[in-house]
Assembly symmetry: C2
Homo-oligomer: 332 residues x 2
């Protein structure tokens, strides 16, 4: 899923995202509830109509953003009281309110409200957040709308026993899918991989398994090997705006002087329909000249790279050519 | 001509500009010679290839930009010595160098180097600049490349006798077209219209007449009545980035609260293919949220409005329905 935090994948139109071939996009409950508000979007016909996106939409519940963006926050059993990062106004998010907002947006997949502790966090704090996440999960299911599909979010930090406990608690509830949360929150990769490897296989194989906020191509390949089906990540879009292009030779910083005279693609093996007209030298010029087109072309490139990665992952699984795929993306 | 100062029409790709239907775009000698340099663009196959623009390109010669953007400048008979607005480096632009740069860019229409005095300016200064412009015009023609098409630029400030003198001087030289320069440099509209009305009809009818840097739809309609054929202006693109949309009801500031809940176009009579999917409420949200897509959608809208204006101007001339056109654009 490309990340369309504020009802747009940054720098792109809905046509652009359709053109790359993505079916599902992610938007953010936290941001949209603050601006322009879920009530307004509902009044305007729902999020699909508002942003003119014809495919399905998943929304993050806001748990992670409240912890990472809000100015102040107070977590109680009832929910989270926080100050908007935009204007400092007092807001309140509870499991029931998170379900209501997502119902107002009219999205296809709602995420349960979780408490996502930062890394590092003590074992005791990880337990507290996990236990609350489970109670909130039940409240989300109780308060959801009739046709609202909801995914539960596994927490438990870097502790394998907690993760197993969280999987058991959540899979006992009738969610439509399960996400692994609390990963990619600042912990080193060597701590992230074991969590994914231990948790994903415990989730039901007949429901979607979604790893939230991950990641680099290598992280995605590893997670797919562990049984993960779905991903969202800001990396391809954020890196693009910081001049960094994904290629099969690794990420390339287009600001490097070697690209100034390069009348061709950054990687002949990563040429995509929506950007093939434009050379590395032109893209570098656009970034140097601070032209808005720069971010758009780089975003189109990076999302095309990720779309191809996911397409080739599906093919390799079906055709039993995983080792070849791993070799192909060895440096990516 | 949409203005593509730095080899891109701000916020748009070449596909976008093609999609609106423009054939000819303008780029800037001054900006491109500073960054990335005309030598580099030549090495990379010329400006068409560099920016992937399949249609013709006209470049401004840099005379106006040296006066308006450079940090310091010293005009002598030889040319203009100035400091780059980017890094303060010393640069020199002469008629010969202006022709050379535009030949290196490989554009279809080169503009002669003129001295464009600001408004207000004394009658004496207007004469000095005009006389020098004529001598520079001759040097441009002498130094141009074999197949380089060049337009001369009429100067003379707000003085009708000077304008006539300038027309006589320039039309005695073998230019491929003629531009009216020194207009829209800060003078009030009531001084601009008489200059255009007095100058345009004196220019040969069998060569293109180009009014530089103008303007509002009303200015364009007036100038066409005076016999002008070609225009460039930053207004539609710049206004777009400042939330202002051209419509048949006049310009609309999309930030106005009345648009917050408007699930439709800003003007039902100004709906264009490239933006029709998006409501006024969505565009306002994008601007409020500081999303890059906002500027692009507004630019697509405004350039579509201008493209339609020019298309309808051509039709009205052919069909003898000018009065109807004037009525249709009365509030625009």
């Amino acid at each position: 899923m490309p990340v369309g935090t504020q009802a747009t994948v940054k720098t792109l139109s809905s046509e652009d995202v359709e053109g790359i071939g993505f079916k599902l996009v992610l938007a953010n409950t936290y941001h949209l509830s603050l601006r322009p508000s879920s009530e307004l979007i509902q009044k305007l016909g729902g999020l699909h109509h508002f942003m003119s996106w014809k495919g399905p939409i998943l929304t993050d519940s806001g748990g992670y953003q409240v912890m990472s963006l809000a100015k102040t926050r107070e977590v109680t059993e009832e929910g989270v009281r926080f100050q908007s990062h935009l204007d400092g106004s007092q807001m309140f998010l509870s499991p029931e309110r998170a379900m209501e907002i997502q119902a107002q947006l009219g999205v296809d997949i709602s995420m349960a409200l979780d408490e996502c502790p930062p890394y590092p966090c003590s074992r005791e704090d990880a337990r507290t957040a996990m236990d609350r996440t489970h109670r909130w999960a039940a409240r989300c299911l109780e308060s959801r709308g009739e046709s609202q599909a909801v995914f539960g979010i596994v927490q438990g930090g870097v502790h394998p026993d907690f993760r197993s406990e969280s999987v058991a608690a959540l899979t006992s509830m009738p969610f439509e899918g399960f996400a692994i949360g609390g990963v990619s929150v600042g912990e080193p990769t060597e701590m992230q991989y074991p969590v994914v490897a231990a948790t994903a296989p415990q989730l039901p194989a007949d429901k979607p398994r979604y790893l939230m906020g991950v990641g680099h191509p290598q992280d995605i390949l590893h997670a797919v090997e562990c049984g993960v089906d779905m991903f969202d990540c800001v990396l391809p879009t954020r890196m693009a705006r910081h001049h960094s292009l994904y290629t099969l030779q690794g990420r390339q910083n287009i600001m490097g002087s070697k690209w100034a005279t390069h009348d061709g693609p950054v990687d002949p093996l990563s040429v995509f329909r929506q950007t093939e007209r434009y050379s590395a030298a032109y893209l570098r010029h656009l970034f140097k000249a601070d032209e808005p087109l720069a971010g758009r072309l780089a975003t189109l490139h990076n999302l095309s790279f990720y779309a191809r990665l996911m397409e080739e992952i599906r093919e390799a699984i079906e055709q039993g050519t995983w080792a070849d795929l791993r070799e192909r993306y060895r440096k990516a």
